[in-house]
Symmetry: C2
């Protein structure tokens, strides 16, 4: 739907439709206009009837602008029934589970970490978990898997080491220190015999991971009764009695996990704004890097990323991989695993996990790569990255499907600075007749209005981006929203990410509802579930559904379809994927009616 059709919708609403003032030109309000509007009715009853008719028309006209208008106009009777069931469950849970009088702080759209416990016991959340979810279009590879997976791998990874910027000789030091992990080669001479938990420890000396894990001297601090309780429920307390040794390991691993997630703890200062959130967020990537950046872990990590999403109903993933560092650590501990090999490993992992998932009865379509580098480089380095991307695309045309620049956008280099190389890349691609590597750019992940980050939206669009990553500030730009609609550009919205990184107080306040109500194409993404805890897409879909009463189950159908339509699939793949999705959706509707339809 474009602006022209909006006009056709708006215009029939005439001034006399409105009861007085609203219809009057504010510069010349006259008693005449006032009387005319009321003169058509003879009684209060007539006036009320006229009013209610106009009211319904106005609401219907507004809703006709929404992204789901066409879908909602053509529901099957089963889809209508399923919509009603879901709305009933949502209403019932809102009344009895969330909006209860004695719990002053709870409402269904409440902040993510506060809501997590209740979500897990929500019937609506359970339904959303079963929903087929199409494509996940926006996530960062090193942030896609539960941190416990990498922690478990670390314990059995030969040569895994750990170091700290200061001795971990007190509870306070655990938060103050910068921690790093790394696989060292078997013949390394870099390992120290220092005890990392004693004040005699030499800062930055490497110690064996297994030793640090087995001798952690703060076994009680992250238990539920401890000094530093993790406030989310990512780390469940042990269900049975555990030995002192087991508790030590649990506490150590909880500590390592706290370095990799944004879940609040009682000891760390509460995150109050996006600047502070990003400071913590960036440290998590450094910690993850040491555990993930290692050949055997990479393959397992890619597989786990596919599994965790597939089991939540996602069928296809586009992963942004940050290729800023030239090498990863090889299995033998050498630092020389090339980008070519990363993609090769990714490729093999996807092939293998697809087979594995097929055995589980899941038809996982594919996982592809958006080549990414970071917004801190100069144009010369960008040129090398673009050439690297082109070389990888040539060798793995089915894997490399786009190019992006990632990182904290506000302090990062604006797209405008990169125009020389980005435009040259486009021109060479065109001149040489190369297969297109589209830009799929992050833009507008900011609270700003007219600052450099916000202006990245103009550049992303002018550079021909296929989609926009985040586009948080897009709702402030009526013309740019119109361009997105006219030219078919989807916004990869990451509501829970934006909340945890301090852009919005909760999903209910997120501007994605403005995009949806304007008919801009949107798909929901989880961005960095390792850090946030929003694995799969159930959390983000749930949050949207309970935050927007205009959004129905059938609206989510449209969002999932859009995620597939805007995926980097060729036309045949897309048609096949949409067919598979619709079949899954029909089964899902059937299941809802069977499982929850009794009282309707």
């Amino acid at each position: 739907m474009n602006v022209r059709s909006h006009i056709a919708v708006i215009r029939p609403l005439k001034e006399e439709d409105l009861v007085n003032g609203a219809a009057a030109n504010h510069k010349q309000p006259t008693a005449d206009q006032f009387k005319i509007s009321l003169a058509t009715v003879n009684s209060d009853a007539d006036l009320e009837e006229l009013y209610m008719r106009k009211r319904s028309e106005l609401i219907a006209k507004e809703r006709s602008l929404r992204f789901d208008a066409a879908k909602n106009a053509s529901l099957t009777s089963d889809e209508q029934k399923a919509n009603q069931i879901i709305s009933r469950i949502r209403k019932a849970e809102s009344d009895t589970k969330w909006d209860v009088a004695h719990e002053m702080h709870t409402f269904s759209g409440m902040p993510f970490y506060q809501a997590m416990d209740k979500m897990h016991s929500s019937a609506l959340f359970n339904v959303i978990q079963k929903m087929p979810k199409g494509a996940l279009l926006h996530c960062h590879m090193d942030a896609t898997v539960d941190s416990r997976f990498l922690i478990a791998r670390a314990a059995v990874t030969p040569g895994m080491h750990m170091r700290a910027s200061q001795p971990l000789d007190s509870v306070a030091s655990l938060r103050e220190a910068t921690i790093q992990f790394m696989v060292l080669p078997p013949d390394t001479t870099e390992v120290s015999s220092d005890n990392i938990y004693e004040s005699s420890y030499t800062p930055l000396a490497w110690v064996p991971y297994t030793l640090a894990r087995a001798t952690f001297p703060y076994p009680h601090i992250w238990t539920p009764d401890g000094d530093d309780k993790v406030l989310s429920h990512l780390i469940p307390p042990p269900t049975a009695e555990v030995s002192q040794e087991e508790q030590q390991v649990l506490a150590f691993e909880s500590y390592v996990q706290s370095l990799m997630t944004m879940a609040p703890t009682t000891s760390a200062e509460a995150v109050r704004n996006s600047k502070q959130a990003w400071a913590k967020f960036l440290t998590t990537f450094r910690v993850i890097h040491g555990l993930l950046g290692y050949e055997p872990n990479l393959k397992e990590h890619v597989k786990q990323m596919c599994r965790i999403n597939a089991r939540d109903g996602v069928r296809y993933v586009e992963t942004r991989i940050n290729f800023f560092l030239p090498y990863m650590v090889r299995a033998n501990g050498q630092h020389d695993l090339t980008h070519r090999e990363w993609v090769q490993i990714y490729d093999e992992a996807v092939t293998e996990v697809r087979q594995e998932l097929r055995a589980e009865g899941i038809d996982f379509w594919d996982a592809r790569i958006i080549y990414s580098t970071v917004r801190i480089i100069d144009n010369a380095t960008l040129r090398l990255a673009l050439e690297d991307c082109r070389a990888l695309k040539k060798e793995f045309p089915h894997r490399i499907v786009g190019f992006d620049l990632v990182g904290h956008e506000d302090p990062g280099t604006p797209l405008k600075t990169y125009l020389p190389e980005l435009l040259r890349f486009k021109r060479e691609q065109s001149e040489l007749g190369l297969e297109e590597i589209p830009f799929i750019l992050h833009a507008g992940e900011t609270l700003g209005d007219g600052n450099h980050t916000d202006e990245n939206l103009f550049d992303a669009l002018l550079l021909g981006t296929k989609r926009i990553g985040h586009g948080y500030s897009l709702s402030k730009h009526p013309l740019l929203m119109q361009l997105c609609k006219d030219h078919g550009i989807l916004i990869e919205v990451c509501p829970i990410s934006n909340e945890i990184l301090g852009y919005t107080s909760n999903v209910a306040a997120h501007p994605c509802t403005t995009l949806l109500n304007n008919g801009v194409a949107v798909s929901l993404s989880n961005d960095d579930p390792c850090q946030f805890g929003n694995f799969g897409l159930s959390y983000d879909y749930f949050k949207l559904l309970v935050s927007s009463h205009q959004t129905q189950l059938s609206s989510l159908h449209v969002l999932v379809r859009q995620s597939i339509e805007f995926a980097q699939l060729d036309e045949q793949e897309k048609a096949d994927a949409l067919g598979k999705f619709e079949a899954e959706w029909a089964q899902f509707i059937e299941w809802i009616i069977k499982e929850h339809g009794d009282s309707d």
Copy 2:
């Protein structure tokens, strides 16, 4: 500017203006479209030049949709100079005062209470304080004055008493108890000899205010080193040594103040969402009621409201007064002061304070009343309120200028329920040829999207509201925004209020920028400065200016003009007011250039 002119602006931007993809229809992207766009250039330099031209055009087209486009197209050279000066100060303070490396949490748009300290030492804030500010269109009478004013009055008010729902026999009890104040008549037999600070105190027994004030047994708790530091700087610590008795009184008054404000304290749980914020907010009104709801205080309060705003550059105020309770306490302690007398007192107060301010060299135009009742009543009670409003309008036509329903909108009765009486009121007004009492309705103060509160926006517009109070959720409604533009309806935006009451994480995330960028008429209001601390309009204007780089000094000129254009003034009054404002503005521009123009 209406949708039709938007179209005229949007259409000239052709597909070939865009570098590839953005121009392609996503359903049929062809290599041809891709090549055409790049074929017009022969070199990277040409491409970059073309790009930069298109970029400037696109940004200019977007900005032409904004509310300030006409103004910014016709600036005098002095206004241009002043714009540059203000932008320079904003940039310099952002770089050196707010966005400094070692202060992880500070940025210029940061949350209000966290920012207050830095704001008070900001040169930009000082400029904004000097700015002429026209009309304050949205505030609630009992929330307009610094709580210290009422606290100071209470100490000298004969017959002022206090009671608590439980003995105030511990620090914890101070937060747990519900406190109430009231003037009792001289011959009252209701006063108890209990000590309110001992466990033997009978709950709800009245004790003399002066006694409670002089014997407060927790002199240290609200001092800067105390157990319960108030985190804002509303209560400055004493600058000199104080005696034990003085400290006792200071602590007592700080305690009373903490019952009347939303400023965070170290002891109270941090407010985390709007539901929790409203629970605390509503208690403040009950406390204020006992101190304000008394004949002599009312008059002084109205005067102080005019003074505090006038000294911040505001020249005209429309006050919502809640007439839900039928009587206020008369000077003799009797509960029989009628609504007629309230308005009479308000009327006298305004006349007197205008004279007083004139002596200060301030031409304060006027303060008028929007008759309000609360969203918890039934239709029968609403009918009485509307009749009461009509009677007051008849007697004080120059004071009563509108009707509204106030209170916490989310759990409140929807406007839809009140349609029978609201429509009847309109029809009778029309039939009897009475002077119009326009609706000026709160609507959409909610995070919801399609819930009852959000739907209040439809009803407010259909009922012919002249302005919308808050309209927080309006930015989610493209058609309703269009109606506001077409029919000249202004949104009374209260950004700091919305932040403190949990609707937005900070002003930078507030949807008012969406309204402004769409060309919807907006004016800034402070809503409840007693509770929030945002006295006058400087805080709200400052927050907007530092949160939106598109917003310039000249943009604030448009906002102030709009506040006057949409005030309930007659045409002659409006023309006079605009003339006075423009004269003040010209002086202000001159002052900026003289005071801050050296380095430009």
